[in-house]
């Protein structure tokens, strides 16, 4: 187990390094000139040269990348002489737009995105697994067919359509909820939940549909295993058979996609956050794109990759907990 964990952590570091390198290349080599973006529209040639030195763009590429990496782990000083700015650990640079450290911007927005992703995840697991397991246990009945047709339809609706319909129906017509404004959980738990309810629903509908389809399939497969017959034969109540024996092994494939989805959503709910006006990482990313704020875009991409990679690792470790057949 320890050897396995060490190997996985090493691989994780490698993957992150590769992603950092690719991201760095895309954002610092492909565009015409990051210095021009940093300097703004009214920029003299002289000033541009200064900015270029300040950003370290006069250095060879590998040196820039090495500096960038060093910054993440130990912090670094950006620029030289009177323009020198200390960028503390973990240094992802400064936003061109707001001149704030990228790390602070990310951490400022993370609670919003995490609230959105986690709340939606709870909702979609309940809805999706509920529908999937119900359909699996009533395989080929009218309930099963209705649930699955509903799931395919819900999965085919674009999230921006569902979101707009929810805003229109619940907020504008029924007037049940105010237009979402984010409130911190610690300030006002009830306001937090009621403001996030619609974004959660919009995301959860989409994902629940996929989970219902997936969990139905794996549940049917699990319930056909010989150990289910054994469990029934030794007289266990059907409920125990389903929950403890069927669901537990049927959940392994669900866990895989759950890790990927949740990891991806933590920094990737760009559309949902934009439509509902939630000040999360996705919206930060979108704003940074519009303004060519490369350090922020790079920061979000790295953070998003980090979440995905870590989520994958956690999922793999959880396999051993859920499924006793898995050993490392």
């Amino acid at each position: 187990m320890i050897v396995y964990l060490a190997r996985r952590l090493l691989a994780l570091a490698g993957v992150l390094l590769a992603i950092a390198a690719v991201t760095f290349l895309i954002f610092y080599v492909l565009p015409a000139d990051p210095a021009a973006a940093a300097c703004g529209k009214t920029c003299s040639a002289e000033r541009l040269a200064d900015v270029r030195i300040h950003l370290g763009l006069d250095q060879p590429l590998w040196k820039q990348f090495a500096d960038f990496l060093t910054g993440i782990f130990t912090g670094r000083t950006l620029g030289t002489g009177q323009y020198a700015v200390a960028c503390d650990f973990p240094c992802l640079g400064y936003s061109y737009e707001s001149s704030l450290p990228v790390w602070d911007l990310l951490m400022d927005r993370l609670p919003v995105s995490a609230s959105l992703a986690l709340g939606a995840a709870v909702l979609w697991l309940l809805l999706g697994l509920g529908a999937g397991v119900t359909a699996a246990l009533r395989k080929d009945t009218a309930t099963d067919k209705a649930l699955m047709v509903g799931a395919v339809a819900a999965a085919s609706l674009p999230v921006y359509f569902t979101s707009v319909m929810l805003i229109y129906g619940v907020i504008r017509i029924a007037g049940l909820l105010p237009y979402p404004t984010y409130q911190a959980f610690t300030d006002n738990p009830l306001g937090w939940a009621s403001n996030l309810l619609l974004p959660w629903t919009a995301l959860a509908l989409l994902y629940a549909a996929m989970y219902a389809r997936q969990s139905r399939g794996s549940m049917i497969e699990a319930m056909a295993e010989p150990y289910i017959r054994t469990a029934r034969a030794k007289g266990l109540p059907e409920r125990t058979v389903v929950v403890k024996h069927g669901l537990r092994s049927g959940m392994t494939p669900i866990l895989t996609i759950f890790g990927i989805d949740l990891g991806g959503l933590l920094a990737g709910a760009v559309i949902t956050e934009s439509i509902f006006g939630l000040p999360g990482i996705g919206r930060l990313f979108y704003g940074a794109l519009v303004n060519s704020d490369q350090p922020v875009v790079l920061g979000v991409t790295l953070l998003a990759a980090f979440f995905i990679v870590v989520a994958n690792l956690v999922v793999d470790l959880l396999y051993a907990v859920i499924d006793p057949r898995v050993r490392y």
Binding site: V15, A18, I19, V22, T23, I26, F27, L30, P31, K139, D140, M148, V152, A153, A155, S156, L157, P158, V159, Y160, F161, V164, Y168, R172, G217, S218, I220, E221, P253, I260, G264, A267, G268, V270, I271, S274, I275, F285, Y286, L289, S292, V297, V300, T301, A304, A305, F307, I308, V309, N312
Partner: protein, 321 residues
């Protein structure tokens, strides 16, 4: 939807395993017969056919309405009402079959039809890249094993660890002056191949030591011949099923990227971009918002239903793990 009727099982087994086919009909004939039996398949196939025809014949079909997708019709909108379309239901009339855009008065029928072409072209082309690259990588990894497998499998893991939507958005926003359709196809394609490569790799691993492959090898067939004549037909079933299920995802991705404004540039219409433009009008001119959304929804739904059915028939055990 797993196989239920005994007839389904025969068809499925036959498709997955050629030698087991019933005498007299090929596995593909059995699959076709099974497909024809399902009502959902017939409906979704009809919708898919309509969309494909629409996309392929967009210039001619679009012209039937009498308007080009870029043509302004100021007489169809009310300048005193902020450019609202004249008439009920977003200006639906014999002149404009699906109504018009607010402000510009561009014909929605022409735009939706041309949008179908752009959306489906990108989706199909990206799917083609994904399927070709994924199948090639999967077969190579599975068949050659060893170092080839290690390298390709690590590459798959790496690609799957990328936050793909974020990355696609970033790539598309960084690259400025290139053909957007080609660029989008490439970017969507880059992140899609590992999924299918894994499926094909697994299938290849299980096929490569079958007797008929050994027989071909003993018979002196080279790797190229074995791969193309023996392995490829064996993985074709799952690949076709997976491909059909890829398309709705590609359509959605294209729409999402265009919706976010990093996809196809105006005035070229695509469904996602039309929806993005219409969101601001969802209250004042709901039809403008609903029409492209319904087209997008139907396309995704039809391809999903078709893919589901194909998977059940061609690859009864695939897509479960």
């Amino acid at each position: 939807m797993t196989t239920t009727a005994p007839a389904t099982d025969t068809a499925a087994d036959a498709a997955a395993d050629r030698p087991a086919a019933a005498p007299g009909s090929s596995p593909w004939q059995l699959a076709r017969r099974e497909l024809r039996r399902r009502p959902a398949v017939r409906v979704s196939l009809a919708i898919v056919a309509v969309f494909v025809l629409m996309a392929a014949g967009a210039p001619w079909l679009g012209a039937l309405g009498g308007w080009s997708p870029h043509e302004f019709d100021k007489s169809a909108v009310d300048p005193y009402l902020g450019g609202q379309p004249l008439g009920a239901l977003g200006g639906i009339s014999p002149e404009h079959w699906l109504g018009v855009e607010p402000v510009t008065g561009r014909d929605l029928y022409a735009r939706v039809v041309h949008g179908a072409q752009v959306s489906l072209l990108i989706a199909f082309a990206a799917t083609a890249i994904v399927v070709l690259a994924g199948t090639a990588a999967g077969i190579a990894a599975g068949y050659f094993g060893g170092r080839t497998d290690t390298v390709l499998s690590r590459l798959m893991d790496l690609t799957m660890s990328f936050p793909s939507l974020i990355f696609m958005i970033a790539l598309l926003s960084v690259a400025k002056d290139v053909n957007r359709i080609v660029l989008m196809t490439a970017v969507i394609g880059i992140f899609g191949w590992p999924g299918i490569a894994r499926v094909v790799r697994g299938q290849t691993l299980s096929l490569k030591h079958r007797e008929y492959v050994d027989a071909a090898r003993v018979g002196g067939a080279g790797p190229w011949r074995i791969l193309t004549r023996e392995i490829l037909p064996g993985v074709a079933g799952p690949v076709i099923a997976y491909t059909t299920l890829l398309i709705p995802g590609m359509i959605s991705t294209e729409a999402a990227l265009s919706y976010l404004g990093v996809g196809v540039r105006p005035p070229t219409p695509s469904w996602g971009q039309m929806i993005a433009e219409s969101v601001a009008y969802y209250e004042t001119d709901p039809m403008y918002f609903v029409i492209p959304s319904v087209f997008l929804f139907l396309a995704v739904l039809a391809f999903t239903l078709l893919g589901d059915a194909l998977r059940d028939i061609l690859d009864p055990r695939g897509g479960r793990t």
